[in-house]
Symmetry: C2
Subunit: 524 residues, 2 copies
Amino acid sequence: MDLRGQSVVNFEVSRNGRTFTAFNPVNGQALAPEFRSAGPEDVDRAAGFAERAFKSYSRWSGKQKAELLRRMAADIEVLRNDLIERTALETALSEDRLHGELTRTCHQLLLFASLVEEGSWVGAQIDRADPERKPAPKPDLRSILRPLGPVAVFGASNFPLAFSVAGGDTASALAAGNPVVVKAHPAHPGASEMVGRAMAEAVRKTGAPDGTFALLFDAGTEVGRALVEHPAIKAAGFTGSRAAGRALADLAARRPAPIPFFAEMSSTNPVFILPRAMAGRGEQIAAGLHGSVTLGAGQFCTKPGLVLVGTDSASERFVGRLGELIAATPQSVLLTAGIGKSYATGVEHRARLRRVAGPAGSGKGFGASATLFETDIDRLTRQPDLAEELFGPSTVIVRHSSREQLLRFADGLEGHLTAAIHGTEEDLREAADLVAILEQKVGRIVFNGYPTGVEVSHAMVHGGPHPATSDARFTSVGTQAILRFARPVCFQNFPDEALPHELQRANPLGIWRRLDGRLTQERG
Amino acid sequence: MDLRGQSVVNFEVSRNGRTFTAFNPVNGQALAPEFRSAGPEDVDRAAGFAERAFKSYSRWSGKQKAELLRRMAADIEVLRNDLIERTALETALSEDRLHGELTRTCHQLLLFASLVEEGSWVGAQIDRADPERKPAPKPDLRSILRPLGPVAVFGASNFPLAFSVAGGDTASALAAGNPVVVKAHPAHPGASEMVGRAMAEAVRKTGAPDGTFALLFDAGTEVGRALVEHPAIKAAGFTGSRAAGRALADLAARRPAPIPFFAEMSSTNPVFILPRAMAGRGEQIAAGLHGSVTLGAGQFCTKPGLVLVGTDSASERFVGRLGELIAATPQSVLLTAGIGKSYATGVEHRARLRRVAGPAGSGKGFGASATLFETDIDRLTRQPDLAEELFGPSTVIVRHSSREQLLRFADGLEGHLTAAIHGTEEDLREAADLVAILEQKVGRIVFNGYPTGVEVSHAMVHGGPHPATSDARFTSVGTQAILRFARPVCFQNFPDEALPHELQRANPLGIWRRLDGRLTQERG
């Protein structure tokens, strides 16, 4: 596919935008072609088309939406080899990793296709009438989830496929019945254009309305801000830094009519290693943790960044072993110069802690050496910024001197996406109060495992209290992510034929519904 | 019950607060006793107790929470006659209405008791492990909804029982497992104290932790603001004016860690009368609408405030009939001097429209005459403030001259709680595009009925896009209201005994769960 360097929209984009390129992280060289940033007028047109598309796309059946999502998956799959080659060039991520990520991207589209084709996700509720009820007759009430309207999606730097143009936000928003306007991440514009054009083509092939999907480029922040503030945009999904996420969430909240804004922002994912597990398999945990910390050069939102251990000899050995593994880690290439700079600054900032392994300074540009630091809870409590998320292959050992201190520390944690506990079943029994605290702090608690590797399924919760996300009531991964982009609508005393199919008496779609409070697939 | 005029808390309240009284709306006289406003230090203590209570109350079983909610309902029911006498004195609402409202209040508590006792509301999702899966084993993932933390609830002036101290916000927040701190509405402090003391007593009797429930008085806004900004408060529910709701929602969004804020604010609830219905039963609709507009002196958030009709002779007759009924309506007594003043100002503001019925000026103080105004869509489009919510027995007839004009008008509507359509089935078929638009504008569409009278059930949606509410994805009435105060938490690879009962393999509670994507009550 010849890259055009243009936003993927169904209108002539303005020629005013600045141009930019991707960079090869391995050598810092600019990659052809030049891409042109869209401007506010392009946002306005894309949002307008999305608004018009919504009028009909919002009424598409589950089957129709499934066809669109499957077409998208198929058309992206066709690009596999070219797409992975270009994405690898733009990100320095391994082809193996990118093959996996592309498979996941298509899996997500197909999973949402099945979800909406089956149809029960709308959560139909039916309370039947009782005309004889005293003092007033009971009306017939039927409600389902309906889409919100055009959704803005921000591509993420660290998942150029699975959290970008055709990522989970896009798939779930489209599945719910919302048109999507994606703002591509400027670090992988080539991959974005390739996927975006496949998506637009799938829209065309399946007869979805013009404006159901659009992709805008911008090297800066103007397009993103304009999208979040545009009156036609009714929700937005974002994955990125805490500062950018909060700034956009604040914009969304300050609108004349505020909109839901789902930012996944910042998480250090504390790992707690309990005594018996440490004594029994400390070395093994060190190896697993090393893999999780350095996976994808440590550029995962679920990277474990704090490791809570005791002061016993098993913990000493564990720290020693993890240090050896970190020291032996080959230099990584980070995704962008910006991430490289943040990593270097973060490593420098942690110079105040004991450095267990890794060089004093990090590499320049895109390069990064793995580092391991060590501190204790007292120090971290005094300087909580040392516990903040640092993208890159680094983690911090945090020593605790007592169970009480550990619980106090847990109680003081900000929100995170995950926490992990390593222990025997006996350890876990004794740590029931720790689990109870962590349940309030994170979206997912992992037992005897590592937080990286987020399963895309029904039960997954990829979310958590602020600042992990801007809205802990939702997950951004898995089928439940669709709930972010829908709201309930109730029909009172409607004739059967005027009701959405999901609510008609015969239950023509055969979906699960709550009928007078009871789950059933029966008619009613 | 002798009223004490004190916040209902488990600590000594500060003596610094100003005192205030309720007023009898019928004669404007102050009602004994004096009530003392709480201060920021009381908010801090109540929130702190709620935070500590949360640690154990959040782990109460559905059965235990059901017992608490049923105890509350029973202890409030015991007060019925005294409570209704005092509430009537403070609000001038009829005893009949208040009997119904109290029944509804207790019904809500009992409904949530049944919901959490049955237990399936937690939306358990289970994806079982597959250790053989390639390239990576599939973990065991189990998620459920868990409570958010202490919830602040603002009592509403217009529902002194069902949306106040023991109202739907309180009942749903407690049912989800959250302690509640209520800020009583200062217009009915006596009713609030009576209910609050019954609630506190129920907490004591059932052994719920101290701080599970607290009630704070304040004649001003300081306590409310302090609650919304307190770090221990994790969500808030509010019913009231657009200005106050937005101000508090903005405070919630600006916190270092923003919290969900559910404001139900402003709704004019447009009613569309289609041609055949108008021709066939215009008089009957006029009578029904009159009842809905003047019910509770027009002080319902679902009061129909805009009535869309044509220019044909049947519409003329309808307007004439509604005018007669409005003119014959006895003077009402409004809830507070503030509402009386707003009503008088609103009626004056509408002097620019044609006055069909009712005096040019409204009464003074708490008194209000019913009024009916008339305008057309062009006028309303130029002066949209004339379509804003006006509490009190008044509505506005809006003439449309064509179907296209009507659809454009609908398309330009802000968010509302409800819309109502009167029509024959043929009318409704022809109005499919109107229904499609309204679905995007409101939470509930009523066919051949009136929006007042909000059923408390499973399928009810009492919500809608901004400014009807601050978060259209939730309802504040009915069992689904519980979803506002919970968030999903996922347990990965947990041993069975360490899981919440709802997620254990044997399904000991027998609840409905989604097992590998399939709804079932089976073990798994």
